[in-house]
Chain length 146, copies 2
């Protein structure tokens, strides 16, 4: 294992070496080669490290991903505000990142976090507080997150 | 609660009534008003209903979402193939949908499923089999999903 690296070495987003590979090479590489979309983003699923509850889905650009790894505080890219978004910076509802995983084609990351307060901007524990019935009847709200 | 509705009533995607609302109205509505992106898609996070393990991230258009609700078999939109993708149709690795949730702004859904076989096209249980170390060292593979 390499020792801790300084800022800028954690993930050198503009280094051609870190461009995504294709097919099974991308699936099996041990290099971080995020496959950013046309907007320069990967999806980030955030999960409670203890309960396994899925808390939210957000987005990360290269800077947000690097910041999350370096600081262990979940940092996203706010698409609505067009700026880096350190989760909880204004609300206090921070996310201490316990583990980061990346998926087969490296266009999505999974953060396991210790959440302070509610993850959702509505104040609820999770953004997924509404259940969609199979029969087309109205959504219902999870009574544990009203 | 309304009774079961027929095909086409489950979610009338092109009905102006079902367009997203804004702000807190969208957060609190009990109507299904998916906020599709410019490609007509919402993100779909799939989670094992029993273990809570996050299995994959995929995408759904209106047709895939409707099909998932109607058939209770996870159905996505394959961006690479440009077609509807009934999970497991060729691999046999189907996903029986136990619950569907939608997030605050309705641009992401969460499926809780009973997974047959591996969820990942690599054969692994989950697509998130690689851990990203905080210190910039190479990724490691989850030994339970080698």
């Amino acid at each position: 294992m390499a020792g801790a690296k300084g800022r800028g070495d954690v993930w050198s987003g503009h280094d051609p070496v870190s461009a995504p590979l294709s097919g099974s090479e991308q699936d099996e590489t041990l290099a971080l080669r995020p496959k950013f979309n046309a907007d320069g983003l990967v999806a980030a699923i955030t999960q409670d490290a203890e309960t396994g509850e899925v808390l939210m889905l957000a987005w990360m650009n290269a800077e947000a991903l690097t910041a999350t790894l370096e600081t262990r505080r979940a940092t996203y890219w706010s698409r609505s505000r067009g700026e880096l978004w350190v989760k909880g910076e204004t609300s206090g509802h921070t996310q201490e990142v316990v583990e980061v995983r990346i998926d087969c084609d490296q266009d999505a990351v999974l953060l396991k976090v210790r959440q302070t307060g509610g993850a959702c901007h509505t104040g609820r524990a999770s953004c997924f507080y509404r259940i969609v019935p199979f029969d087309g009847s109205p959504l219902s709200k999870d009574p544990h997150m009203s």
